[in-house]
Each structure stands twice: as C-alpha cells, then as structure tokens.
C-alpha cells in the first residue's frame, strides 16, 4: 500500500496535478508517526510512510495547506474524509486547492496495546494476511490486528470514503452496528452522582496540555475562546477547583453538531481521558432529537442546530435558510 501511495504521489507531482503532498512520516520512532508535507520524489522516497501506525487525521492540516498557492495532494482515510467534508462545509478548506486520494484503512494499531503484550523496540509494522506483523529490534512478532487496534477503530462508524478525487484500495461501507454509543448509554444509565464522579475521575487527570483541542479538526477557530481574554472563559474555567470539567464541556459544546467523531481527541490524550464520549453524547442526542445526522457525511450540509426544515416550525420567519434573502 505504501509503495502504491508513493508511486501515485510521484506521478501527480510529476505531471503537475499537485504541487505538494500531505502524508505521514516517521518521527523519532517508527510508531511515532507525524503528518508531513512532501514536495518532491526524493522526500517521498526517503520519508513517506503509510502503515498501521498512520492514525493521524490529516484533514485539519489542509486548512493551512489549502490557503497556499497551488494544489496539495492529501491522503485521507475513511474517517478523515468526514472531517474533510465538514471543514469544506465550514469554508475552512479551499476544496479547489486539494486533490484527495482516499486510502483504505481497516483500523490502526495502538502502540500501547502492543507494549502491553510485551512487544518493544518496534521498528516497523505491516499487515500480512490479516495479521499485524510487527518488526522489532528483537525479531518479528505477529498479532491479530483487531486485538491491538486503537479503541476508536474498534467502534469505527464507517469505512466509506465520503469524498475523494480518486481511490487507492477499496471503499467500504458505513458500519451499521458500530456499538459506538454503548458506553454513552452506560453513562446515561448512571445516576447523576455516579456520572459526575466518573467524569471527575476522568477529567481530573487533565493537565490542560491542549492536545485534544489542537488535534481536533472541529477546533479550528482563528482565535480560540480559551486563548481570547476578551471571551472571559479563561478566568471562568479557572475559577472552579474542578476547572477541567468546564474546559472540556465548553469544548464539547463548541464542536457539537460539527464533530465527526474521528476520535483524535481521545487518541492524543496523554492521560487517556475518553473525551470522545462527551462528543458522542451530543451526537446521540442529535440523532434522537432531530433524526439521524452525521456531520461531514454530505458536503455543504449544516448541522441540525443551524438548519431549517420547511414544515416543522409554525413561525414562517424561521422556516427557511437566510430568511428574506
């Protein structure tokens, strides 16, 4: 797969279709994947990787990349395409500056789960007939991928690419029984007190590193309310001795209806806080209150919070988008 991606990227660079390539490269360690922009074949050959550690959602990087002159090639996994669509809907990505290649993904590996199995000194990874083959300094190990998958991939909502200019690999389907709301339902069944102590236990570990916010493809404000003294939110969040709850709850509200449930927030949290559950609660509520809605599924489709239905509202003044215009 990696070879195919590099070859295609080289072709598109060579024929002038794109000027840059947004992909992944290894960091200090093989499992330490980081998004990167490549501008020529040499860089691609030297550094481009695509494997089961390439979990990063590249969509958010396209905000800055698509602002630049020329066209950028982006490799997007199914989950990333939802974020991409959402950002196009919000006019954050200039669609005409991006060439999207959908790449198949059947789940990404969680290095912590590999470590828990005693695998260390990892130097690479590949899938060989359904098994994850891990190359290590001490030899190769083979484990079933679904046993070491990221939690978010275990409850994958869709293996379908909702947007692409071309596809490498196969397109999948929306997963009907992802079970992604199971934990939300469990929380809903708790008493308020139990739920509060669950969240207090989780959120109290927050070190306010802002990784969740910085990685989140819905958190793209030019000036985040938490960085804006004028908003008054900074002080308000700090006023409570349980300040983290406010930070995360305010953040969840801000992305409600726009969160595509890509799961990056929980993946990057160094404290392993299941932040995605807050977002999923909103998604579940949206589905129940306004009918099924998946942010990013359709480009240009606004969330039910910003959309009007022609029939539901007796007040004519609010039945149509944009009113008199």
């Amino acid at each position: 797969m990696q070879r195919e991606l590099i070859n295609r990227a080289r072709e598109l660079l060579a024929d002038g279709t794109v000027d840059r390539v947004l992909g992944w490269q290894a960091g200090q360690f093989a499992y330490d994947i980081t998004p990167a922009v490549f501008t020529d074949a040499g860089e691609l050959e030297a550094h481009f990787v695509y494997n089961e550690f390439c979990a990063d959602n590249l969509s958010k990087y396209l905000i800055k990349e698509s602002e630049k002159e020329g066209k950028v090639l982006a490799f997007l996994k199914p989950c990333d395409t939802y974020s991409f669509n959402q950002l196009v809907t919000e006019h954050r990505i200039r669609r005409e500056h991006v060439y999207v290649i959908g790449v198949e993904s059947y789940g990404k590996a969680d290095v912590e789960k590999l470590r828990a199995r005693g695998i260390s000194g990892i130097t690479g990874v590949e899938t060989v007939s359904g098994m994850l083959k891990v190359h290590t300094m001490y030899g190769d190990e083979s484990v079933p991928l679904n046993e070491v998958m990221l939690d978010r991939c275990l409850t994958c909502k869709s293996k379908k690419h909702v947007v692409y200019d071309e596809l490498i690999g196969e397109d999948g389907d929306v997963v009907a029984d992802s079970g992604r709301f199971d934990m939300v339902e469990k929380l809903e069944r708790m008493t308020a007190k139990e739920r509060f102590s669950f969240w207090q236990g989780e959120l109290s570990r927050c070190i306010r590193c802002n990784a969740c916010r910085n990685v989140c493809p819905a958190c793209t404000c030019e000036n985040c309310v938490f960085d804006n003294p004028g908003s008054g939110l900074q002080n308000r969040a700090a006023r409570d001795n349980f300040e983290e709850k406010l930070f995360h709850i305010i953040r969840a509200y801000h992305v409600a209806g726009r969160c595509t449930d890509c799961g990056e927030c929980s993946r990057v949290c160094p404290e392993h806080i299941p932040l995605h559950l807050l977002n999923r609660k909103f998604i579940k509520d949206f589905n129940e209150l306004y009918g099924p809605f998946q942010a990013g599924e359709v480009s240009g489709q606004m969330s039910p919070m910003c959309a009007y239905t022609e029939t539901a509202d007796p007040e004519a003044s609010v039945v149509r988008k944009g009113g008199a215009e």
């Binding site: 809907t89 919000e90 006019h91 404000c221 910003c306 004519a316 003044s317 008199a324 215009e325």
Partner: protein, 667 residues
C-alpha cells in the same frame, strides 16, 4: 469611571406590594459603581422622569438603571428622558422587577431578594454599556399590495389617494377577489358586485395605482423602506397593451369544456377567457392547460379573429424587479376542501354545494342567471338544509383535522342565503343546523331574527350526522340530531349547503416565508401586537390587510385595509428611517468564515466576503469573513450564540454584558 444611578419604581402598588422598594434602593447603594439610588411612586410619570434627569445632572451620572416594568413598556420613555439632557440613550438599562418579579411572587421577602438580584445584574450590564448611535436609511416611496380583493383594493386606494405610488399584484387575471363572486351582502342585502365593481374601476383608473394582474411575487429582498421585489408576470398569451377586451376570441374559441373557476366550476368557459364582464383589467387570458394551439399546435382561431393582433402564443413569463418602501399582505381566503367530509356526501352528489357555490347559483351573473336550481336536474329545490361550521371550531382530536377557529361570517351569510331564498321562492323549506348562532355586529342579530321570525327559517341546534344521496327519490336523505329536543330528524332535502371553514389563501404561507413575516399555526399572519398593532406584522415594513390576518367580514376588512394604508402612508411620508443600533457585528479577526451565522440568520442580514488582511507577520492574506448589514439586522442575537469563536457580537447586548449579568446573578 462609571457613576451609576439606580431608580426604583413602585408602580403604585404593582411593584411596591411584593417588593420592598426602599430596601432595593438601599441595597443598590453598596453595589460597586452606584453613586446614587432612590425610589419613587411612578418613575414613568413626568415627575419621575424629572427625578432621573435632575439626578443625572446633580450627581454627574454616566449610566442610569431604572428598576421598573418590562423594557417593552417604558424603555423608550426613559431613553428619551435621558437623551433630553444629553446622555446617550443606550447608557440606560431597565431591570424588570414587575413582570419578572413582583407580579410572579406573593412573598415580599422573596420578591425583594429577587428584585435586588435583578437590580445587581442590570448594574453589572450598565457598567459595560457604551454609547450607541443609530444609522438611517432612505425610504422608497412606493408601496406594494399583494392581493387584489376588497382588502388589497381599499388599501391601495387609500395609499394612492395620499399621493403615493402603489402596485397591486394579483394572481388571478382580474382584481375583485372573492367579494366580486358574492351575490348580496349581509345584513343590508345590497348587491355585492354593484358595490365592488365601482371600486375595481376606481383602482383601474387611479393614476397612482399599477395593477399587475395574473402575476405573483416570487422573491422579496431587502428591508423596511428598501424592499426589492421580483414579480412574475405569468404569460397571458395576450398582449395587454393591444387587447381591447372585445371578446371576439372567446366567442370563436372551440375549446368549450374548461371548468369556470369564477363560477366555482359549476359551468364551463372557453380556453381563452375573461373571468366576468366587469373584470379589471378587461383583458383576455389563454388558459395554457386547455388551449388547443398551445397543447397540440393546431387551432389558432383566436389569433385569426383578433382585430388588434393581440394573441401571442410564444409569450413567456416575465419577471420584473421593483423597489418598495412598504409591503401589504392582502392575500385573503379560500374555502377548505370539503371533500374529506364524507358524511356530507359532497363528492357523491352535485346537489351538496358549498356556500360559495350557492352564492354563484343565486347570482344573476352566475351559471343559472340567478335562477336557483339543483345542479343535478335543474329543478327548483323545495327543501334546503344548511350545515354550519363544516370544518370550523373543530377540536384537536377531530378526525378531519379541521380548523379550531370560528370563520366568523358563516352564521350571517347563511341567514342571508335563507332570507334571499325565501324571498325568491317563498314555498321553500329551509333548515339550518348550527352549533351556536353568532351574530355580534351592527344590525346582525336583527337580521338573523328576521330569518327566524319573519321568514320562518327552521334553525335547529344540532348536527347533521349523515347526508345520503337517495337514488330512488333523487333527493338527499339528511339524518340529523336536534340537540334541544333531543331527537333524531330525517329530512328529505333537495339541496344541502355547507358553510365550510374559511382558511387563509394557500399563497399566504410561501409569501410569509418570503417576507420573513411570522404566522400562526392556522397560517394567519401574526400581528405585531394583538391589541395595539393589529395591522402591522412583527417584521418591519410589512402590513396586514383583510382575512390574511384573521377572519373578517367585508366592513371589517375595509376598516382594516384603511388602517393598514394609514400605517403605510405614515412610513412613506418619511424620507429616512432611523435604525436600531443594537445590531450584530462581526470581529473580522476572529471570524472563521464558517457560515453558521449566515445560516441561522432569519433576516438574511449576514453575508460573507473574501477580504484582504494585512497579517501581523506583514504578509497579506485573503480571508472569508462575515459582515452584517445593520439595516437588515433586527438584533435577535441568533448569530452570536451560533458563532463558535465568539466573533459575532450584538451591540447593546454584548457577550461580555450578558456574562456580567449572569455573573451578577450567579456568583
């Protein structure tokens, strides 16, 4: 440095009986920023206003907080008061300690505590209030009246008489509306067309009125004083400037089987037609659904006989864009579809008719020349049953989903039908089944009593259960209940007349959407204030005339039409309008360009533009940012709460001001 004065109103005993006003004034003294506080019996009185003004001057107040009734009542009063001594009116803040406090509490201790909290919140907001200045926009001195019935005609005439240009848009080929279809009018029994056709002529001849008949409004842009309306002029296939209305084409048109909607489809007309003799404008129209030439390409007879070469089969719909200062909705009513009321057999027998069909059967200009006969066999009916409230006054659990309201005119027109019928055919037996007979109005009850006492019409309080066409007798078997005598009745009727509910015309809701004018669940336009602003929509610059606002008879419609015209004249007399400075604006540096605010704005006040920005690193960047048209913005604040970054803010109700109020209440 803010120097705030707090003025606590007693409102007689309205506030003072459940709020310790002195304690509120006393508590204000210790609130940071407050340098003066007092209480007074009626702050809105001249003496009260003077107290505020004098205190501002004496203590050098920068902000004023009045603790009184809802700002909807007296905010304007107090703003004017402080403005008269040179203070910016938006430095004034009203704490509502009446509607939101004294009126809802019984315990004085609780009421006082809450009043103090509300006062503190208002002070916290006032601390952040900044001077605001309203802008102004010019007024286009032309009015649009949508609907050419009696309501629209009267409004247009009154506006035109005041010297302003008025355009009437009417969907039908002629103005006149429903009133032109009526036979006589209650309770005076004067001929409806005798009084409405002179009005139509007056409208047609008025130098200040332009009639766009056979036309529709398709788009409304802009705002009060500055509307831009797109009018679709449907193709008549007849050149309006050439047609003389001679009728030669109609005579020769071979297509004779077109239901005549003017006569409630009781007879047929031609494919080219003029609805009725007194139509204004009197111009022929080709019905594209039936015209042979348009549908098959063969025929063209009308074109051959037309002496002025007015026929044009190639005609297309045309669109006009016209600017207006004010728009009047006068879309009128129509009868509900009664076919769903199976029990009345409307669909099964031609002798079951609606009241409007009965009007046409009675009318000298109608399909029978005014000779009342049964549609089925052309014989004179001897027994007629009138059923009231068909689809009106229905409860929510009714299986038909009829109207909850009373259509208001049915009791009276049924009495009229009964009297007219008995006048012409004294040997007719007439039964009227009613829930209540409602006759409030000048000479109305007298009229109804005449029907009962003088004309011997059988009024029966009760309901008709079933109407069954009897194939053997050719009559209608009416089974009914007399609720006063508590007995079942069987009546062999020749005709049944349904007083069907009247509902706003189907074009009203799409129009309301275009106008962004609020409607109720029955599709009546909502007035700005049920008591005090009954002819204005809550949307500025939109006025309401006639049935579209609520059920009305003709004189009420004419009165309201005149009232709406007076409001329009008041608006058009101004050269410019002072706007509301409490409008949204976007901080372009914080705006993400996401379009969510544009999507939620009910007034279409927000647009996006690509703008060039000089960035801190001295580069230039094109960014998509929101911009608000302050003349269109109504200050509802929907955008400010939608904006994820907080870039959108509302002047006079800034996010910071509201947060300050919340903090004052909660912390």
């Amino acid at each position: 440095m803010q120097k705030i004065g707090v003025f606590v109103c007693w409102c007689g005993t309205n506030i003072a009986s459940t709020v310790d006003v002195k304690a509120v004034a006393e508590a204000a003294k210790s609130v940071p920023g407050v340098v003066f506080s007092t209480d007074y019996q009626y702050m809105c009185s001249e003496a009260g206003q003077n107290l505020i003004k004098d205190s501002v001057l004496t203590y050098g107040l920068t902000h004023v907080v009045v603790c009184s009734c809802s700002p909807r009542m007296h905010e304007a009063t107090f703003r004017k008061a402080v403005a008269s001594i040179g203070m910016n009116p938006y430095m004034l803040e009203v704490a509502n300690i009446r509607e939101q406090c004294s009126w809802v509490h019984k315990d004085k201790e609780v009421g006082t505590e809450k009043a103090i909290a509300l006062m503190k919140a208002a002070v916290a907001k006032a601390m952040l209030n900044t001077p605001l200045t309203a802008g102004s926009t010019p007024v286009t001195k032309r009015a649009l009246v949508i609907g050419g019935g009696i309501a629209g005609m009267q409004t247009a005439l009154d506006i035109a008489d005041a010297g302003f240009q008025v355009d009437i848009v009417e969907t039908k080929p002629t103005i006149g509306g429903k009133m032109a279809q009526l036979d006589k009018t209650f309770p005076t029994l004067d001929c409806s067309s005798c009084i409405v056709t002179p009005k139509m002529v007056e409208v047609g001849q008025h130098p200040n009125i332009t009639i766009y008949a056979y036309s529709e409004v398709t788009e409304v842009k802009g705002f009060v004083g500055q509307f831009t309306v797109t009018i679709k002029r449907k193709a008549r296939y007849v050149d309006e400037s050439k047609c003389t209305g001679c009728g030669a084409c109609i005579e020769k048109c071979p297509m004779k089987k077109v239901p005549d909607e003017w006569n409630m489809n009781l007879n047929n007309r031609k494919a080219i037609y003029i609805p009725f003799a007194q139509a204004v404008p009197k111009i022929a129209t080709i019905d594209p659904a039936y015209c042979l030439k348009l549908n098959t390409g063969k025929c063209g007879v009308c074109s051959k006989v037309c002496g002025t070469n007015a026929i044009n089969y190639e005609a297309k719909d045309e669109y006009l864009e016209v600017g207006y200062g004010a728009i009047v909705a006068a879309t009128g009513y129509e009868m509900i579809d009664v076919s769903k009321y199976d029990e009345y057999a409307y669909s099964n027998s031609p002798d079951v008719v609606t009241a409007l069909e009965y009007e046409r059967l009675m009318s000298a200009a109608g399909p029978t020349g005014g000779h009342l006969v049964r549609p089925s066999d052309g014989k004179e009916p001897k027994t007629i049953v009138f059923i009231q409230c068909v689809g009106s006054r229905e409860t929510e659990d009714s299986c038909h989903g009829g109207k909850p309201y009373c259509s208001k005119v049915c009791c009276m027109y049924t009495a009229k039908h009964a009297i007219l019928t008995k006048d012409h055919y004294p040997d007719t037996d007439i039964y009227v089944f009613y829930i209540d007979v409602r006759t409030p109005g000048k000479l109305f009850d007298e009229f109804y009593r005449r029907a009962v006492e003088q004309y011997n019409v059988h009024y029966i309080k009760g309901a008709v259960g079933k109407v069954t066409p009897n194939a053997e007798t050719g009559k209608l078997d009416v089974q009914a209940a007399d609720l006063l005598l508590m007995e079942q009745l069987q009546i062999e009727a020749d005709m049944v007349v349904l007083a069907a509910a009247l509902e706003p015309h189907r074009s009203a809701r799409p129009l309301a959407t275009m106008l962004t004018a609020p409607m109720d669940t029955n599709d009546f336009f909502t007035e700005a204030h049920a008591k005090l602003r009954p002819v204005e929509s809550a949307t500025a610059g939109i006025y309401l005339s006639g049935f579209c606002q609520g059920p009305k008879d003709i004189p009420e419609t004419v009165s309201q039409a005149g009232a709406a015209a007076a409001k329009v004249i008041g608006l058009l007399s101004k050269n410019e309008l002072v706007g509301n400075p409490c409008v949204a604006h976007s901080d372009e540096w914080m705006c993400n360009g996401c379009s969510q605010c544009e999507n939620v704005c009910p007034y279409g006040a927000i647009t996006y533009e690509e703008k060039e920005f000089r960035m801190p690193d001295r580069t230039t960047k094109i960014r998509r940012v929101a911009s608000v048209n302050p003349a269109v913005c109504q200050g509802c604040g929907a955008c400010t709460v939608t904006c994820p970054s907080g870039a959108m803010d509302l002047r006079g109700f800034t996010n910071q001001e509201i947060m300050a109020e919340v903090d004052a209440l909660c912390l």
